[in-house]
Amino acid sequence: MDDQILRLVGILTDSFIPLLKAGLLFTVPLALISFALGLTLAFLTALARISSSKVLQSIARFYVWLIRGTPLLVQLFIIFYGLPAIGVTLSAFPSAVIGFTLNVGAYNSETIRAAIQSIDRGQWEASKALGLTRGKALRYVVLPQALRVAIPPLSNSFVGLVKDTSLAAAITVTEMFQVAQQITARTYEPLLLYTEAAFIYLIFCSVLTHLQGKLEVYSSRHLTS
C-alpha cells in the first residue's frame, strides 16, 4: 500500500514540471497570441458592423455567422488536416493560432460592437461639436468608455480561450493537455494526471480572474465618487 502511494506521489512530482512547462511554453503563448490577434480582428469586424458600408457590414456578418455556427474542433481539423489537400500545409502551432484567432475575432466582435453602441449618442455629438472627426471621437471619447463596458465579457472570453487551447492537443500541439495524455499513456494513471492538468488550468485562470478584477477597478475609476 505504501509503495502504491509512493509511486503515485512520484508520478505526480515527476509530471508536474513537464506539465507546467508545456503550459508556460505552449498553452499560455497560444492563448496570448491568439487573443491579441483575435481582438484586433474583433475590433475591425466591429468597425465593419457599425460602418455605413453595406458591403463591409455583410462581410462582417458572414464571418461571424460562419465561425459561430461551426464547432471549434471541426475548424481546427479543417485547418490542420483539411487544408493540405488544397496545397496549404501549416504546422500544428500556427494552425491552432489561426483557428483560435478566428474564434476570438468572431465572438468578441459582438462584444465590442455592443460596447461601442452602448455609449450615449451625446458623447458623439459633443465630440463633433468640438471639431473632432469620427475617428478621433471614437479613439479619444467613445472607445475608452466602451472598454469599461467590454472588459468583463472580454475577460470571460480570454479565460474561455485558455481552457479551449486544450483542443489543440487534437491537432498534435504539445500543449499541457497533450503532455498529460502522453504521461498517462506511460503510467496508466488517467485520474491523477488529468486532475493535475485541471489543477494547473485552474491556477492559470485564477491568476487571470484576479487581473481582470484589477483592470475593472482601474477602468471604472471615474465612476467612484
Binding site: G122, E125, A129, L130, G131, L223, S225
Partner: protein
C-alpha cells in the same frame, strides 16, 4: 456673421423647419423661444452640422458650413454631454489638444483660466459624475470656449437642471454676453431672454413667427400665436 437662407429640414415625412430666414450680426445675443417641438433645437443643430439641412443654406462669414467653419461654433447641450471618463480639466483640454494639436502646458493654463471664469477652478480634477448639473453645464460652457469659438449655440442649457441650479448657469452666460460673444440661445427662461438678449425670435411650427427686440416681443407681441404662447408660459411660470 450668420446668414440663414430659406432652410428646410425634414425627418422622413415630418417637416420640422419650414423655411427659416435669419441674419445674426457679430456680438448679437439672440434668444429663440417657442414650445417644445417648434424646431428650436433642430435649427441650432443644423447650424452645427449635427443635422444636415434638407434645403437652403447657412453661411458663416459668407462661407458655407463645413468642418472648418464649424470649428468657429461652440455648442452647449441640454444634457451637458461631458466626457464621462475624463476629469473636468481633461474635458476642457481634449478638443484643443487633438483637433488643434496645441501643447499640453499652454492648454492647462488656458483651461484653468476658463474654469476660473465659470467659477469652478477648485473642481479641475473632479469627474463629471461628481458634479451637480449646474456645475456640469458650467464645465460644458468652458469646454466649448476652449476652442475659441466666434459663435456660441446654447440648446436649452437649463432645461434639465433643478430650479435652484439654473441661476448659476445663466450668470455665466450673461457674463459671456457682456464680453461681446455672438450667442444663439434656445431657451424657456423668459426672464433671462428679456434681460440678456438683443433680439428674441419666436418659433412656432417650424417658422419664425415674430422677430424683434425683447421689449417688443414680451410687452407688445404682434401675433396671436406669440401672445398665446407667452400667456401659457406666464401661467406655468
Amino acid at each position: 456673421m450668420i446668414t440663414i437662407n430659406n432652410v428646410h429640414k425634414k425627418f422622413g415625412n415630418l417637416e420640422v423647419l419650414k423655411g427659416i430666414d435669419l441674419k445674426i450680426k457679430k456680438g448679437e445675443v439672440v434668444c429663440v423661444i417657442g414650445s417644445s417641438g417648434s424646431g428650436k433645437s433642430t435649427l441650432l443643430r443644423c447650424m452645427n452640422t449635427l443635422e444636415s439641412v434638407t434645403s437652403g443654406t447657412i453661411l458663416i462669414d459668407g462661407k458655407r458650413l463645413d468642418d472648418q467653419t464649424t470649428k468657429d461654433i461652440g455648442m452647449v447641450f441640454q444634457r451637458f454631454n461631458l466626457f464621462a471618463h475624463l476629469t473636468v480639466l481633461e474635458n476642457i483640454m481634449l478638443a484643443p489638444m487633438v483637433v488643434k494639436g496645441e501643447s499640453k502646458d499652454e492648454l492647462r493654463e488656458n483651461a484653468i483660466n476658463l474654469l476660473r471664469k465659470v467659477g469652478l477652478e477648485q473642481k479641475s480634477s473632479a469627474y463629471p459624475n461628481q458634479l451637480s448639473g449646474g456645475q456640469q453645464q458650467r464645465v460644458a460652457i468652458a469646454r466649448a470656449l476652449a476652442m475659441a469659438p466666434k459663435i456660441m449655440l446654447f440648446d436649452e442649457p437649463t432645461s434639465s437642471l433643478d430650479p435652484e441650479l439654473v441661476g448659476e448657469v445663466l450668470e455665466v452666460m450673461k457674463a459671456l454676453a457682456e464680453e461681446g460673444m455672438t450667442m444663439l440661445i434656445a431657451t424657456h427662461e423668459m426672464e433671462f431672454a428679456r434681460e440678456v438678449s438683443d433680439r428674441v425670435i419666436f418659433l412656432d411650427g417650424g417658422v419664425i413667427v415674430e422677430d424683434g427686440a425683447p421689449e417688443e416681443i414680451f410687452e407688445n407681441p404682434k401675433h396671436e400665436r406669440t401672445k398665446a404662447f407667452l400667456n401659457r408660459m406666464r401661467k406655468s411660470g
